[in-house]
């Protein structure tokens, strides 16, 4: 302990001298005020720089003052605390800005007309048009991907948890893990190489296949986690009654874990709904409505955002449409996420314990 611990004011205290509780707040307010003053005086007008200067002042101030009053170890502790707070606040700024920008700019043209009409021959500079075709495309592609990926993913998870022993199971586990890290554009290129080989054209189905590759490992992993939570006593009770293993899995294990599995599937759907790269390579985009996912180019929400953004020069009708579509996509993904987590919480007590 440093010498400040022995203090005339509190001779009996076991604790060293501490700064008052309001000290960080006061120092924070002070450094913000100083940085704003400094920047106004020197003519720096970027808000980000104001924030950075305030943060630096705060960290330095904490270190110097705490070092004086409380000693070195406490000063280090305080500087770690303030760095952690600063890191958190710095990270929140861009993320909050992202949400704010999308909501603010997206609401400009987002209305019933926008949702129920397609682009057709509307020019990039003209207002009007909408995302109906894109929504149809996204729903069909994601729907097909889900229909293929869910049975395979769930069955693989069942294999790993209920049957899996030995080398095959270990290999599957490892490659499922590695598969979660495949870049979406590589999945797109794989399907593209198939299209080139069989001389096929763009279609929503090709995009759906690429999305399937991205979705399967996610479904496997989350289902696996949920199946592991099912207590063994349930399986043993069922076996003891003479129920075959496959019926035990279908009638006891799966129903017990169904809430968690649903959550995992919805999170996976939310994840692939926002994938742009494979759709760009395989679905190509189409301003007109194409309800048939098996033939001809389709559109999709993320692709629509990208194309409208490319065709705008940072302003104008296409720019507004890109933001409105982005808001729609974020809303879709967030609702899926919230619903999934809601189901997880609602079904949680069933998973045993």
């Amino acid at each position: 302990m440093s010498t400040t611990a022995i203090n005339d004011k509190r001779p009996s205290s076991l604790q060293g001298e501490r700064l008052p509780k309001w000290f960080p707040w006061a120092l924070g307010a002070g450094s913000v005020a100083v940085s704003v003053g400094l920047c106004l005086a020197t003519g720096i007008d970027s808000r980000i720089q104001w924030g950075l200067i305030a943060a630096i002042l705060f960290v330095l101030g904490t270190f110097v003052i705490a070092g004086r009053v409380e000693g070195r170890r406490q000063a280090k502790d305080r500087i770690a605390t303030s760095l952690v707070w600063v890191a958190f606040l710095l990270a929140v700024v861009p993320l909050a800005s992202l949400i704010w920008a999308t909501v603010e700019r997206g609401t400009k043209v987002l209305d019933g007309y926008f949702l129920s009409h397609s682009m057709g021959v509307v020019a990039d500079t003209e207002p009007g048009g909408g995302i109906y075709a894109a929504i149809i495309g996204t729903l069909e592609q994601v729907g097909i991907a889900t229909l293929i990926a869910v049975p395979i993913g769930v069955l693989t998870a069942i294999y790993l948890v209920e049957y899996g022993r030995g080398n095959l199971a270990r290999a599957v586990t490892f490659f499922v893990d590695v598969m979660t890290g495949i870049p979406s554009i590589v999945a797109g290129l794989f399907i593209l190489s198939l299209l080139l080989m069989f001389d096929l054209g763009f279609s929503g189905f090709a995009g759906a296949l690429a999305l399937t590759i991205l979705m399967m490992p996610v479904v496997v992993r989350s289902t696996e986690e949920m199946l592991k939570l099912v207590p063994n006593e349930l399986r043993e009770a069922s076996f003891a009654l003479g129920v075959p293993k496959w019926r035990t899995i279908l009638k006891v294990v799966l129903p017990t874990a169904i809430g968690g599995i649903t959550t995992g599937i919805m999170l996976a759907v939310a994840r692939i709904a926002g994938e742009t790269a494979p759709v760009l390579l395989l679905v190509f985009g189409n301003p007109f409505i194409n309800n048939n996912p098996f033939e001809g180019a389709q559109s999709s929400l993320p692709l629509y955002i990208y194309q409208q953004f490319k065709n705008s020069a940072g302003e104008g009708a296409a720019y507004d449409r890109a933001w409105a579509a982005a808001l729609t996509l974020i809303a879709f993904v967030m609702i899926l996420n919230l619903a999934a987590r809601g189901i997880a919480r609602w079904k949680a007590p069933k998973t045993g314990r």
């Binding site: 605390t81 958190f88 861009p94 870049p183 496959w246 790269a277």
Partner: protein, 333 residues
Amino acid sequence: MDITTQDAPPPTPQPTQGERKRAARGATRPGDRVFLGLARGSGIFLLLIMAAIAVFLSWRAAIAISDNEGNFLTTFEWNTGTQPPVFGIAVLAYGTIISSIIAMAIAVPVSVAIALFITHYAPRRLSSPIAYVIDLLAAVPSIVYGLWGALILVPQMDGLFGWLNDYFRWTGVFSWEEGAPRSMLTVGVLLAIMILPIITNVSREVFNQVPQMHEEAALALGATRWEVIRMAVLPFGRSGIISASMLGLGRALGETMAVATVLSPDFLIHGSLLNPGGGTFAQNIAAKFPEADEFGQDALIASGLVLFVITLLVNGAARMIIARRKEFSGANA
């Protein structure tokens, strides 16, 4: 629970030696055999897909590379429509690695700090909503990050670039010729913001699993909170942090849309991080694909194969490290 017993099979009269052995292993009933077959088949199917990805990409890549007049690894060009075609991945490899390094340098310390904030510093009532929000942010589609980056982040980088140019021009790395700040540094910052949530989530899970006893023991010895973190939390979580970072790195390497919207590409390696130009594997594929003929697509597939191999190695390494502590695999994040 609806357990039905009606299907319990009648006991088999006098099982032979072999039948008894099989019965002991469990898979005797036809339903069981079918179901096991389906489940195992799905697992094998996944392995086959991985193999097929490698085989088909290599095959198309071989077609492209055999006709390439340039050196695939060192050429600074991407002309697939010309006769003879000349293309190489040097610029793309450089850009991919540089932008990912910048992203990691920013994202890893900040993510670990946020994870510590959530687990050790935030007021208890705030910590779970914050974790929840960070979870949600991991779900924001990359194209939205790209849109935001191109239209809001890029103009904001002007000030920082000017400042770096004023004071660090002499390093050569931070010189700036007054273009729009659509450069590797901006890409790196945007990638860092994008991979923050996933690294934070995995690190947070690790920090939550630090044995309470270790922390309390350190506190009892009079350690400050920072000393507890340095002596008990970080050593325990080191392998978790490494693998979380590598998961983030895997994402950063393969990110397409955010780079494609922010970067203004060319086919040169720039010494300065502030001048626009360069490219990444994924960005190049997205940008060149619309004009590519069949041979051009094969060439893009060849570059995609390189990206596939790189991400495979990074992810494989991350999983190897993670395998030692199975509980926090992070695949759900």
